[in-house]
Symmetry: C2
Subunit: 529 residues, 2 copies
Amino acid sequence: MNGAQSLSRTLVNGGVHTCFVNPGTTEIHLVKALADEAGMRTILCLFEGVCTGAADGYARMTDRPAATVLHLGPGLANGIANLHNARRANSPVINIVGDHATYHRQYDAPLTSDIMSLAKPVSGWLRTSTKAEKLAEDGAAAIQASMEPPGQVATLIVPADCAWDQAKGPVTIKTPSKRKTVSEDKVPTVAAALRSGKPAAFLLNGQALRTECLEIVSSIVHRTGVRVMCETFSARLARGAGRFPVERFPYFPEKVEEGLSGLAHLILVGANPPVAFFAYQGKPSWLTPESCEIHTLANPDENALEALEALAEESGASKMKGKVPGLSRPGLPTGALTTEAVGATLGALLPENAIVSDESVTSGAAAFAMTTGAPPHDWLFVTGGSIGQGLPVATGAAVGCPDRKVICLHGDGGAMYTLQSLWTQAREGLDITTIIFSNRKYQILHHELTRADLKDPGAEVLRMLDLSDPDINWIKLARGMGVKASRSETADEFNRQFAAALAEPGPHLIEAVIPSSRVNGVEKHFPPL
Amino acid sequence: MNGAQSLSRTLVNGGVHTCFVNPGTTEIHLVKALADEAGMRTILCLFEGVCTGAADGYARMTDRPAATVLHLGPGLANGIANLHNARRANSPVINIVGDHATYHRQYDAPLTSDIMSLAKPVSGWLRTSTKAEKLAEDGAAAIQASMEPPGQVATLIVPADCAWDQAKGPVTIKTPSKRKTVSEDKVPTVAAALRSGKPAAFLLNGQALRTECLEIVSSIVHRTGVRVMCETFSARLARGAGRFPVERFPYFPEKVEEGLSGLAHLILVGANPPVAFFAYQGKPSWLTPESCEIHTLANPDENALEALEALAEESGASKMKGKVPGLSRPGLPTGALTTEAVGATLGALLPENAIVSDESVTSGAAAFAMTTGAPPHDWLFVTGGSIGQGLPVATGAAVGCPDRKVICLHGDGGAMYTLQSLWTQAREGLDITTIIFSNRKYQILHHELTRADLKDPGAEVLRMLDLSDPDINWIKLARGMGVKASRSETADEFNRQFAAALAEPGPHLIEAVIPSSRVNGVEKHFPPL
């Protein structure tokens, strides 16, 4: 048994059964071992950002790590943007990065680079293997580290000789760490704040946005009237009919500030205090009002479920049943295709238990709002703000949850970064319907130009935000990678195409052509808090 | 004038006239200033690896830096793979990486990351601006650093407030450093080695592979019989009729070792001693024979031209005219489309002064060999071995040299990494003909499986090296981004399509469908040294 085989067996024994692969020469022994390993599914991606984003999506939906196989420093680098998102999502991910043989690195061959320096900013755990005999142990440590609550990216650099040299065999991982119990004094303090009669709000993140936590939250709301909020972009939000509807922060900081004004108590449950996504001249970075007291009920690595249960009991809410919305779908739209029309179609047709991977940026507000009363589903956001996440995360979510429909909502600009995802979706027959909001602009940057008061942008400036000339033909791109595709320019076409895509398993792409003049419903559907 | 404007003016004053842009919110002031600046051409790319690869191609062909504009850590990360190649090519490149405003970074907003750690492995010079008043100065230092011989990647991180705050104005860069003159003792030592009568060889790189150096080299060869070699992948190689034909190293190390055996003197001119591209079990990493003496005539940052002139004079070769091949083109091929047929067509039709951007990996040996007698042209290789360089480098070369035909030879696997390049080629009307060698495999990894003696790879292993199921349709991908495209399955089709593409300015793509059984001519056209 060589090092690569000992690592593969260790991964499978440790519950890692999926591996997103983009290999090169230094990984050839790893590929052989992983693909030969019973219980390991290896999935080829044609760009590394697809591997890492897919591992993130898989982790968000299964709470288990997938592995990636990446080719030295440049291969890792191509995966970093989506590892950045995975880090912000607290997703367990295990990167296996091949490197030159230990004795070869001294020669500074062309592909040599400082992989540690590249990996550090996105890795909660990072190690370079030193010999084949230790590789299984290193792999076990990586699994362990990735699952350390609340979950993190673990990167293991594997020199080629550590893969090909003889090893002793696989090792077994220790029992993974559990979430810590919150300290005893927190619950009464928060309960007192809730009883104070002053305006109070929960800010939920991570575990606290899952169904079982939201059920308890809804009973606390029913008892205390506390508001319930989450960040604009969270890793996974359980929502739809029967689930407590969390108020989602608007994107721009002054709107958040407005919504929080007058608040006396902000109670963090797995969340950090809210800060502006970007800095703007004359606008706030820190968004909690000065007079508002911040309480931490549970840190991200602590057990939010237990803490919420204790709080519910302390608040006398434990036996009460909170109010949640029932099933309530909009009617199918007709007429011109607008973002609101897409939202209505989604609201009308979204299947039960769907997973929505959302990188719709400016185009998705109506879709989010109009699915509040759709059957229960999960919504995944672009956690780190790094563009090109939506398609890979959808890919990984579909691999992790083969029995659920995945819907990917994507801006056209962002979708170009990792469009190679479509090929993997076709190859693996993944049940994903991608909707490209084709406004042929980096529309968000038009807003930013205005916000920055950069008047009279010349033609050259506007050209840097423009995706026309030539128009991107998403039908051709999708079909070029084996994915069925269609284009909608009216609401009726979109209704028909979306229904047809849902009815037929496998990947589909719909290019929803929506000029920015038809991006509507944002104010109506995404009011300030 | 704000910081962004002072930087833009400084860049233009310092001779930087091209900027490859993929912007976000933190770069909005930079985009406004750069696109408004007279004398600056801003070019939008839809993925950052296109920006950085294009800047590399531009630098290789103009010996001047282009700038890139990238969006925080993840945007830079997406550009790192091609910056790795640029670093190995010693290309002057100036990265302008936007970051959060200085006062905003403390809040660890979602897009915050350690940009310095990401940038360090690929940047010869690296700085984070601290205030708007210093941004022009920082920009001047970046230009200066990028042009420091032999050229390097300079990365300037620009917090948003450094761009939007008021600044004093542009600054002027110092006179750029010149290449150092080689120390006096080197020339006589090398001349003595050449006179020794023992087998000697030049290993050329960088400046030494340009026309004017090769002319002197040919006269030294004529006088002394010294062999002349270069690495497998150099940044830019001047070749074709009338130019001295340099022996290019084979790819696999044992072949290089074989070719160098018996050598008594290896003379480095702008090159490092040869090492294996990858390590292989039982194969050498260090390739110079033990008994061979290594001499350095010129380091990469030294003036190779002066040194070669002095050596020619010292060797009594200065007035002699070395022998170079005349124009000699193969006939147009017919029959099945093979890699050798593609090579013959290229040899028959390659226009004078063409630029060839080559990431053909296993498929391009015949094309390289069969263009030795074509009219003079330049050949650009994937210097750092980081895949996805060919299309972006072709893009930047075409921007830098609008009067020259650019031919891009690309493996299908590698072309998927940065296919977004095609959109920029279409938008800018760049005169590039891309040939995709569509063998629907990571063919090189099939060789590596064999070399690693990994017997009986199962179906799952082979599937990780396979690009079919589904086949990638390059016609659809190209047309989806506005590039004219065709597919050749016979030599006659390819002859016709290639001739037609050359005849019509603007971007074209030809998918040359060549099953790996028709990859031929490698042994014949790429013999061991």
